[in-house]
Symmetry: C2
């Protein structure tokens, strides 16, 4: 079955990073975690044009530095190796050497250029990477028993409860181009923070600078618009690999189908972002906040983020409480210019504030609506033409439980 989004983007029912031509992926248990898979890889038959975005946290983990340096040399990657269980963050010079070693060993095993290997880690911070286990993981790459995109998706998880993956197809130059993605999200692993990792693959041929520019702009309205608890980690990273195996005319910003490609890449990013938000720690539902009619892009984004990040809104949604006052309050402290007499707010289709006035809405109906798995809050500013969407989840007892437990 093929689901359809609009006419141009087709969503594959069971899409993965291996859906695009020429990509393989796998995962194994190498002993960093008790029993769960903890080492994974993605590999392209040929070197791929690549782009990356990295955490803005001042404490950037070693693997991000190594990957960024390598990628910047020639804008190419062929292999990504990832471990969970240990973030190789706050590990000093030794940690940096370990990340380099991990990269080098993977390059030797797969016979690719060292600089074409990206490394990523997620898990405990402040502890050195057990390199014997990493080496064992790398040696497993050749074994076909471990080849499986599902195994890859599992191997990068920490306290995530589900794997995150998607793939779509579009037509470019009369050829069917596939874009696939996998991610890990909001799981917290002691003593640590939620690391977000996103890996996107495509068999399209894309020019490097255009790809980097597109990824940056798309990240700003997808991965950067989700919040579980507002904390951004030392290890967040999103990589895109475009291996060109579908032999389309090189996609640049001047290509007639460029926007279609960007839309598809954006769809994949948003889908992964939503899957991450919905699987937030302790979350029972996905919350989507749409700002429309904002006077600027910044205002649109900041208002959406203020609402989605509000603990009071998050707890109200958990309690299925149509508490428009908390939404208004968050809009009000977003530090953006707010035309208070024009603003309207709705929960799904149920308007609760109209042009700055409280609506006499049906509270029971609104509460019913908030009991769904996915809840939409619309903030119509009616003060401009910009819009933005942010995603998050409710704040629950389980969030406190997961994060207050003493590390054992």
């Amino acid at each position: 079955m093929i689901l359809t989004k609009g006419k141009k983007i087709q969503v594959l029912q069971d899409g993965h990073v291996t859906s695009p031509k020429g990509f393989s992926a796998g995962g194994v248990h190498c002993g960093l975690r008790k029993t769960k898979l903890d080492f994974g890889w993605i590999h392209s038959e040929v070197p791929a044009c690549a782009a990356g975005v990295y955490t803005l946290n001042a404490f950037q983990a070693a693997p991000l530095k190594v990957t960024k340096n390598s990628l910047e040399k020639d804008d190419q990657l062929q292999t990504i190796v990832v471990n969970s269980g240990n973030a190789n963050s706050f590990t000093g010079t030794q940690g940096y050497q370990d990340a380099l070693k991990m990269q080098q060993l993977a390059a030797e095993k797969l016979k690719v250029e060292v600089d074409n290997v990206a490394v990523a880690s997620t898990g405990v911070i402040g502890e050195l990477l057990p390199m014997e286990n990493i080496e064992a993981g790398i040696q497993s790459i050749g074994d076909s028993n471990h080849l499986s995109p599902e195994k890859f998706e599992q191997s990068i998880l920490t306290t995530d409860t589900i794997t995150k993956h998607v793939a779509v197809q579009i037509e470019i130059d009369g050829k069917t181009i596939t874009i696939g993605g996998a991610a890990k999200g909001s799981g917290m692993i002691h003593p640590n923070m939620a690391t977000m990792l996103g890996f996107i693959t495509t068999d399209a041929a894309v020019e490097a600078q255009s790809l980097q520019k597109a990824l940056r702009s798309i990240t700003d309205c997808s991965f950067n618009m989700i919040t579980v608890d507002g904390d951004s980690s030392t290890n967040d990273m999103v990589l895109v690999l475009a291996n060109g195996m579908k032999e389309n005319h090189l996609l640049t910003e001047n290509h007639a189908d460029w926007m279609r490609f960007v839309e598809a890449l954006k769809f994949v990013s948003e889908e992964l972002a939503k899957q991450i938000a919905k699987d937030g720690e302790g979350a029972t539902k996905l919350i989507e906040v749409n700002t429309t009619g904002a006077p600027s892009e910044t205002a649109a984004k900041q208002v959406a983020k203020a609402v989605i990040s509000s603990n009071l809104v998050k707890t109200a949604i958990y309690g299925a409480d149509p508490n428009w006052g908390r939404i208004i309050c968050a809009v009000g402290y977003s530090e953006q210019p707010i035309n208070t007499d024009k603003i309207s707010i709705s929960l799904g289709e149920i308007e609760v504030v109209h042009h700055g006035q409280v609506v006499n809405f049906n509270e029971h109906e609104a509460s019913q609506y908030l009991q769904a798995d996915a809840v939409i809050i619309n903030v119509h500013m009616q003060d401009g033409m910009y819009q933005a969407t942010a995603w998050g989840c409710d704040l629950t007892y389980d969030y406190v439980k997961i994060n207050a437990s003493y590390r054992t």
Copy 2:
């Protein structure tokens, strides 16, 4: 008994807004809440020089607008009337008229200039103020049965669990000057947000512009440095009244004892702020974050705020988990320049990170420390000369419980 802070500021054991000469206060039940006191007042025998700071939330409630307008006319106030149970926020033109009426009735009852009356409200938003109840409250002002600073402190609470009050004394021009304060804090009242109200009184004679300047600067490092859940309400306000009844030489920035006065005012503000933070919804402990050695005042404040606002840090402290990784992470995403090789972090006296390296500290001892009622996190940036302190509380099951309950 008189407690002493340094040699210059004496803390009264049972200090209130009525400790300074010439101030009276009281509180009654006027029917806005079921049984609890819900209407209170502070009154000075003579008009007092006054200063105010107000929420930056774009949706500023009616009483704040009325108070601000009146205060700006002549920098004087003589009376403050406050109700809880209803915030008179998001109530449109009628709400504004009601706030004006509340002001006018109080002025008539107490025979003071209308513009010398401040009005404040806290509670449910989006509902009109029941003016009959307010009128009944105002009529009670003359009754000596209701005169009591404790009753005033109770009357302004919402879901706060304790009253907040303090008073200190200092010598100015050989005279004993008293500064008293009361506040309400982090209680949430459905369907609403945490409103912070602070009222400070003194019998010192202070020049208006200097007082306003001092209040602004002190607020930035006291009331503005606390966080319970990061949400700032439509009704937050802090007022200072200086009635001059101790007949000191007018305090201005040029007075030899000016800094002593400012220090005392700051002490009162910080003390109220801490009492508010500690009584955060569901909180079991006060958290204090000290940033030292920051390269700028902004950096010092932002780093302290990032740590105190982190849900991950707040839940870790609740769980008595010495999770330095979450603290480092919050420092890292504070959007301030961080010299990652210089930073040191300690939990009380227990150093957990030293010059950017993890310390092999005693986890059991650290966890023991975190079980105290008040916990201090020190972030030494060693990259400059600025410092800041922020206060907050832990994030608990009860926070979720209080805020996720459906409004009934």
